[in-house]
């Protein structure tokens, strides 16, 4: 029993070590030429642009729900006029980046895990290598760059559509006009709210791409392995995003005290 636990712990530590080395290699090779520009652009389209509808629709829904909750809270204090600003702050500082990160860990993480896993078991990755192409640069580095670029853009879309959702809820509730809603929404947020919180999603993008690529790249046992890689990609990248977010928020509060509300 103890021996089995010990073996499991050693196996886990080994996998964490391998995944960390994989991520370090990806981080280093982002900056080393030759750059796979064509494939990177294709991945930005596949992983980024094609995720935009999911993010936009989810953003509207999140905005509506947040608006309803904010209204329920602020009405008690007679502060309904603060609803757009409160919602905007919540969205831009935390809800937008984290929700976008988690949603994309589902869509992109599962996609990368399954695609690279399938390529591994059907020997397509070996075929790339046999064609004298560095499969790591071609498959992993391009996806990492695409995710790091796409996440902040998609987060911005989520923030904006979230505010739009909030407006729909507000205008349905009290007929608030669009211009007034957005004037109030933007009245209390500035760049120190937007920039650090949005840029931290670059880290989320890096996590999603490297974890999913690592699991896909190391898929072992047929189609069952592909399914497992896909599931694990979503689970591990989601957990890591949530945990890393705690650390990133601490760093942001330290570097930008005004973002902490001060």
């Amino acid at each position: 029993m103890l021996a089995r636990l010990g073996n499991a712990a050693v196996g886990l530590l080994g996998s964490i070590g391998d995944a960390s080395l994989f991520a370090l290699k990806a981080a280093r090779e982002i900056f080393v030429p030759p750059f796979e520009i064509r494939e990177t652009i294709r991945q930005i389209y596949e992983l980024g642009l094609r995720s935009a509808p999911l993010i936009a629709v989810s953003g509207v829904a999140v905005g509506v729900v947040l608006s309803m909750h904010t209204r329920a809270s602020l009405e008690r204090f007679g502060a309904e006029a603060m609803i757009p600003a409160g919602l905007a702050i919540a969205l831009v500082r935390e809800t937008g980046p984290l929700t976008a990160g988690l949603l994309l860990s589902g869509r992109i993480g599962a996609g990368i895990g399954a695609e690279l896993g399938a390529m591994r078991v059907t020997e397509q990755i070996d075929a790339l290598e046999a064609s004298a192409v560095d499969s790591f640069r071609y498959l992993v580095v391009t996806r990492v760059i695409a995710c790091v670029v796409a996440l902040p853009i998609l987060t911005t879309i989520m923030n904006f559509t979230g505010m739009l959702g909030g407006f729909f809820a507000e205008t349905a509730s009290n007929g608030m006009p669009l211009a007034l809603y957005f004037r109030r929404a933007f009245s209390m947020i500035d760049l120190s709210d937007y920039v650090p919180a949005t840029l931290k999603t670059m880290v989320f993008g890096f996590i999603i791409a490297t974890i999913s690529s690592y699991l896909g790249f190391n898929t072992g046992s047929g189609t069952e392995g592909v399914g497992r890689a896909s599931t694990k990609a979503v689970v591990f990248s989601s957990i890591l995003i949530i945990l890393t977010n705690v650390l990133l928020v601490r760093i942001i509060f330290f570097a930008f005290p005004q973002a902490a509300g001060g």
């Binding site: 399938a118 397509q124 075929a127 046999a130």
Partner: protein, 249 residues
């Protein structure tokens, strides 16, 4: 006739997976223009041997040479340079399933030549025509039969006019007629292009057709090597059983 200089040389190669030794001190060389066939039962290390030649696998011990280059010690651009001399036809063709058949064939040219787009397309079309797939350029690999996929894989493997063609189980999963067609295509490439063929198979009729020289792997070691006629005269019961087999799958 074969040259004196080996184009591929394995020098005391040993490889294990999870404690199980798959290749045990394997050495052989293959000369330019030769058809070299590696025979053996399933799981004896035939494909593992092939993968060492293009450095998809790294030996635990020993060295692998392609020409004068020790491919087992290369990395980065040098490895890429040597790999461009080699074409690899995978057992299941391993076509890239997200691009068309034609783009699969064009892929190595797009990566490693400075040809213009229309030239690459034309050459890919020519390669496909050589394997009888000129009409399939715009089809997706999933829409092709097993034999057609294998032919497309051969067209891709030949895209850069390699000096060496590695072929993993050319007749696996194919009906005898299609398998013969693949053999004919390989022989044709060998005759016309002075390609060195290294083929892994357990199909004896195919091995006889393709191989100037045959080597038999058993439990990770080469137990016999020579022309088919020599193997036919072997006293080893395993070799005799293999060589008298008419299995074609």
């Amino acid at each position: 006739m074969a040259d004196a200089t080996p184009v591929v040389r394995l020098d005391h190669v040993t490889k294990s997976f999870g404690g199980q030794r798959v290749l045990d001190d394997v050495s052989f060389d293959v000369h330019a223009g030769c058809g070299f066939v590696i025979l053996g039962r399933s799981g004896t290390g035939k494909s593992v041997t092939l993968r060492h030649i293009i450095r998809l696998l790294q030996p635990d011990r020993g060295r692998v040479f392609v020409g004068a280059d020790e491919i087992s010690a290369l990395a980065g651009p040098e490895l890429s340079r040597v790999r461009r001399k080699i074409g690899f036809l995978f057992q299941n063709a391993a076509l890239f399933d997200s691009i068309t058949v034609g783009e699969n064939v064009a892929f190595p040219m797009r990566r490693h030549t400075r040809l213009k787009d229309h030239e690459i397309r034309q050459r890919a079309q020519e390669r496909l025509a050589e394997v009888g797939l000129e009409r399939e350029y715009d089809r997706m690999p999933a829409d092709l039969s097993g034999g057609m996929r294998k032919r497309a894989g051969l067209a891709r493997a030949m895209a850069l006019d390699p000096e060496i063609l590695l072929v993993d189980e050319p007749s696996a999963g194919l009906d005898p007629i299609t398998a013969d067609e693949i053999d004919e295509l390989l022989l044709d490439r060998k005759k016309r292009g002075r390609v060195t063929l290294i083929v892994v198979t357990h199909n004896i009729p195919s091995a006889r057709r393709l191989g100037d020289e045959l080597a038999m792997l058993h439990e990770g070691r080469i137990i016999v090597r020579g022309p088919a006629a020599e193997l036919d005269r072997s006293d080893d019961p395993l070799v005799r059983a293999f060589m008298t087999s008419q299995h074609a799958g």
